[in-house]
């Protein structure tokens, strides 16, 4: 399965580069667009793991909706849309780097310790596990309560957002 390995590393490097772009970009709109690359890379990784439904949800919700909200959010503020050196810098670079490296080290060590020797055996059963119909069965037969509660949650979120956005 060397193809998978190659695909994984290509995607992983692209995602890491784009993620650095998100935090390094001086233009906040560019940062949001870099985020699209990271999220799309995550979707592609899901495909590599044969989690087809999750991958397309990632595209629909994150790239489709969340990034749109980001852009609208940026538009609503006075954040500079052009390069503005310094305005977006909170001068925590070194502290941030130390924390990031620490978390990275801890997570790598622990994840390798817990899952290091395990392999995902690719099979048709695995593919069908990630298909929409299997997820649907789970949602409608096991996670019925959260599913219905989510509709009330979305309704409340919309009502709350409209209250905040109304001018009167």
């Amino acid at each position: 399965m060397w193809e998978q390995q190659v695909a994984f590393w290509v995607l992983a490097v692209a995602m890491a580069a784009a993620a650095i772009g998100v935090v390094r970009s001086r233009n906040i709109v560019h940062a949001a667009l870099f985020l699209v690359v990271v999220l799309a890379g995550a979707a592609a990784q899901y495909i590599l793991l044969a989690a087809e439904f999750v991958a397309w949800v990632q595209v629909l919700i994150y790239i489709g909706a969340v990034v749109v909200l980001f852009l609208f959010g940026i538009m609503l503020t006075r954040a500079p849309m052009h390069d503005d050196a310094g305005a977006l810098d909170n001068d925590q670079r070194w502290g941030g780097l130390v924390v990031a490296l620490f978390v990275l080290g801890v997570l790598i060590a622990l994840l390798v310790n817990a899952f290091g020797g395990k392999k995902i055996h690719f099979s048709n059963a695995l593919v069908s596990l990630g298909r929409t119909s299997h997820v649907g069965t789970d949602i409608f037969r096991v996670f019925v309560v959260p599913f219905e509660v989510v509709s009330m949650l979305l309704l409340a979120a919309l009502v709350g957002a409209v209250v905040l956005a109304r001018k009167d």
């Binding site: 622990l110 959260p146 979120a157 409209v162 905040l164």
Partner: protein, 485 residues
């Protein structure tokens, strides 16, 4: 096959959902500004009916492969949340009605948050717990910022939102690691997994999950949002946040620790121990220095949260259900005391037009009825017999003595010292109420208190006195909660 849906088990949720929809429709299609409030109050009381019928039935109903369980525990807490929600409504009617706020929307959001709470009492898997927890918090982000044109309220909402989202992300990451390791989101399966040999990653997963909860219940060192949010939010919303929403976090924490992480004691006990000790100490020390009554109660509720965490932190060494019972009994009593205290703050603020403690000077001479009840709530929070607060502290210390390990005893000593510290600031307010000269400018002949507010205060005073004198009542509820149905 499609699962058989036991509608009786869902009846409280269904009634509340229908109520929310009815409130929204009433707000949209009628001009009667009082109607949404009436429907909301009626609906919350209506949801209590199926809770009672389920309690009489007494059968444990486990649905969807154990993801949703209706047992005595969930019924006791569902009942608690509905009553707390009803009292919050009593506090809100006039506050929201007079302030020219959006009324229908306020009740829709409040009830949706309440819906999340009653779902969380029955939720027994990570996905249900997470969705219910978000349903509790997301409406309250908006409620905290309900006074849109007040920058303090905006600040309250924004701080709460940012911290809330961050804590959800941390918690979700922890939960996803738990799922990855245990291969299931159902707590029963996680319990099985935790009984075996677990890698170090599991401890980190538990840690991240608990940190998320620590934010939700504003345990030190994840508490810094609470005082600002409590101060800026409308006071009825603050009462709701400090009681119902906080209790929601504790119920989820209790469920997840008791039914999920329990066998792996080394992974969760030290974390809860530190959270408990830090919350009690820092909450109380900070409360001593407050000049604003709402901020003082915010720090006091952080400290009370620490007391609730004490039996949880020692639960691994307590045989039987004494520790879990202590948590549930403490939550029930804390709810009554804190709702009462905030009701009294609202009532007092209607007279003094301020939340500064100094403005309460001599309040007992000008408004004896409110001051008496205010004193009852504060002394109960301090844990003075024969008010209900003493029993909450008693069951907490009993759990510590049951555990009887060195770490438990140390925690018990910290709790005892903190109870003494807490007495100072609670009694400081009471002293101001009764022994200081009235401040100038306090209205003496102000309009009568709204009925809802008086009813809420009276009800909470009655609960505190009755439970303080006959603690068997709540003790029995605590026992019932952990009986096998």
């Amino acid at each position: 096959m499609n699962p058989h849906v036991d509608f009786h088990a869902f009846a409280p949720e269904i009634v509340l959902t229908v109520t929310i929809v009815a409130v929204l429709i009433a707000d949209l299609f009628t001009d009667d500004s009082k109607l949404p409030a009436r429907i909301a109050a009626l609906g919350v009381l209506g949801s209590l009916v199926p809770v009672l019928t389920l309690a009489v039935d007494g059968q444990t109903r486990s649905l969807f492969g154990g993801a949703f369980v209706v047992d005595p525990f969930s019924l006791v807490l569902t009942g608690f949340f509905l009553v707390a929600g009803y009292v919050t409504l009593l506090l809100s009617f006039d506050y929201i009605g007079e302030g020219d706020y959006y009324q229908g929307e306020f009740y829709v959001l409040l009830l949706t948050s309440l819906l999340g709470m009653i779902v969380i009492s029955s939720a027994r898997d990570l996905i249900s717990i997470f969705v219910a927890l978000e349903t509790i918090t997301i409406p309250t982000f908006v409620l905290a910022g309900w006074r849109k044109h007040d920058t303090k309220s905006n600040e309250a909402s924004l701080k709460y939102f940012l911290i809330g989202v961050l804590s959800s992300a941390v918690m979700l990451y922890g939960m996803s690691l738990v799922f990855g390791l245990a291969n299931s989101t159902v707590l029963v399966d996680i319990h099985k997994y935790a009984s075996g040999h677990t890698p170090a990653l599991f401890a980190v997963a538990v840690f991240l999950t608990l940190v998320g909860f620590a934010f939700k219940v504003s345990a030190v060192p994840f508490h810094f949002w609470a005082p600002d949010t409590y101060e800026g939010a409308p006071t009825p919303v603050t009462a709701f946040l400090s009681v119902a929403s906080k209790a929601g976090g504790f119920v989820a924490l209790l469920t997840i620790v008791r039914l999920g992480f329990f066998p792996s004691g080394n992974s969760w006990q030290p974390i809860l121990w530190v959270l408990a000790a830090a919350s009690m100490t820092l909450g109380n020390l900070a409360a001593l220095r407050q000049t604003n009554i709402v901020r003082m109660l915010a720090y006091s509720s952080i400290a009370q949260g620490g007391f609730i965490l004490v039996p949880l932190a020692v639960a691994g060494d307590v045989r039987g259900n004494a520790a879990w019972q202590a948590v549930v009994i403490y939550i029930l009593i804390y709810g009554a005391m804190n709702l009462g205290a905030f009701a009294a703050v609202i009532a007092a603020a209607r007279r003094t037009r301020s939340a500064e403690i100094s403005r309460l000077a001599g309040f007992g001479r000008t408004n004896p009825a409110i001051a008496v009840m205010f004193s009852v709530f504060l002394f109960s929070l301090a844990g003075i017999p024969p008010l209900a607060g003493w029993f909450a502290k008693f069951v907490m210390f009993r759990a510590v003595f049951d555990a009887n390990t060195t770490v438990a005893v140390v925690l018990g000593v910290i709790a005892a010292v903190n109870s003494v510290i807490a007495f100072f600031y609670y009694s400081g307010v009471v002293r101001r109420l009764w022994f200081d000269e009235p401040a100038a400018g306090v209205e003496l002949s102000s309009p009568r208190l709204p009925v809802g507010l008086s009813a809420a205060m009276g009800l909470m005073t009655a609960v505190i006195l009755v439970v303080g004198v006959y603690p068997q009542f709540f003790a029995r509820l605590g026992e019932i909660a952990f009986q096998r149905g």
